[in-house]
Symmetry: C2
Subunit: 231 residues, 2 copies
């Protein structure tokens, strides 16, 4: 009987200008607490070691800056889990090109990739989501789909797991994703205790999602595209 693999210890989160702060800190806050009971390490990765701001052209005077610990060109060698946030900054193709290149370079040695919101649109640009099921922010779903024409985009989902890739819907969905991930990796009891301590009422059904309908997000399934191509 195959034994369950050891739960991951080494996490990384990547930042780019205009990232969405809660995409990052929703999951990280739960992992911060988890690190108090099981040894974990975190690297904060960016193009340079300069603080990275949430500011973008539509949010200028109201922003926060986070200090990276590693550059994309010098990531920790033991990285196991990479968290990719979304945010308005994902729309800047030039600024996010180094992010896409970094993910491509590091993906083969990762155990898991987690995305929040339009982080899945960035991941889609690397090609590693091709042929996989994934979800994204529901308000920006059409745009996310345009970034991954060969991805099976699932509209009605709080989060989607396909192999080692966990993608979640918009902003706060990252919190439900991380609790599901913690439950899977470290045990459901651990996830429940952290959620209770955070006074968070989790959504535990990945398929429950009122926001797909609210924003009119619809699936993009490859089999449909293939059929149309044959006609």
């Amino acid at each position: 009987m195959a034994s369950k693999p050891l739960p991951p210890k080494s996490y990384g989160v990547l930042l780019f200008p205009g990232f969405q702060s809660l995409d990052v800190f929703g999951p990280l806050d739960a992992l911060n607490i988890l690190s108090g009971q099981t040894p974990l390490s975190l690297s904060i990765l960016a193009r340079t070691l300069d603080p990275v701001s949430t500011a973008h052209i539509y949010q200028v005077n109201f922003s926060q800056s986070i200090v990276p610990t590693h550059t994309f060109s010098n990531p920790p060698t033991d990285l196991e889990v990479l968290l990719i946030p979304g945010g308005f900054g994902t729309r800047d193709e030039k600024e996010t090109e180094p992010v896409v290149e970094f993910i491509k370079s590091v993906y083969p040695r990762l155990r898991y990739v987690l995305t929040v919101c339009t982080g899945s649109a960035i991941l889609a640009r690397t090609g590693v989501l091709d042929g996989r099921r994934a979800t994204s922010n529901k308000k920006a779903f059409s745009w996310a789909k345009s970034q991954g024409p060969n991805v099976n985009w699932v509209a009605k989902a709080r989060w989607v797991v396909d192999g080692n890739i966990w993608t979640s819907s918009g902003i706060t969905a990252g919190m439900d994703l991380i609790y599901a991930f913690i439950g899977e990796m470290y045990g459901e009891k651990v996830a429940e205790e952290i959620a209770n301590g955070s006074e968070y009422e989790r959504h535990t059904d990945p398929d429950e999602d009122p926001f797909a309908e609210l924003f009119g997000a619809v699936d993009q399934m490859l089999r449909v595209i293939y059929r149309e191509e044959r006609e």
Copy 2:
């Protein structure tokens, strides 16, 4: 007929070592989005301008550092709303003494104070909560009460409003607090749109709180204390 006061424009959040990241970024993420449609400014206040880390003795290798914009000794003159986070760092009396002094000095010219989690315990130490109703983290409720013996601590509450002071329960309760605050100040439609865009299902009843019972948190009401003192 008295006209409604203008909604606030100038926000500040204070940081100290070992602050809880989601106490800060739950509310700020919603305000970040709000700032895209109404002009707002944010100052990030700390003892010095050095980045402030979430790290504390129980969470050493897994932390994030935020860059302040102002020191406690030089806050913006137009500050209207102050957000006070909680976190394990609130237990360090020496490290948080400058925080308490800063709040005392700035409180008289603030329009509103918002606290998340054990941020209300720090606020209680300043004395401005004396005789007021307030709430705090439910797992740390007994400790919070010890920091404010003259406060009417309400156990069963997601958040509590008493005059210009809005206190919320543990960690994620700060998100419901900020949406209620945005609704009150900028209109319920604005709050609803931001929550939907964040794919957040709000708790809109401040008195609904399953965590008080879960953690056995009980009220501390001054009238009860006074009666006991007379006997």
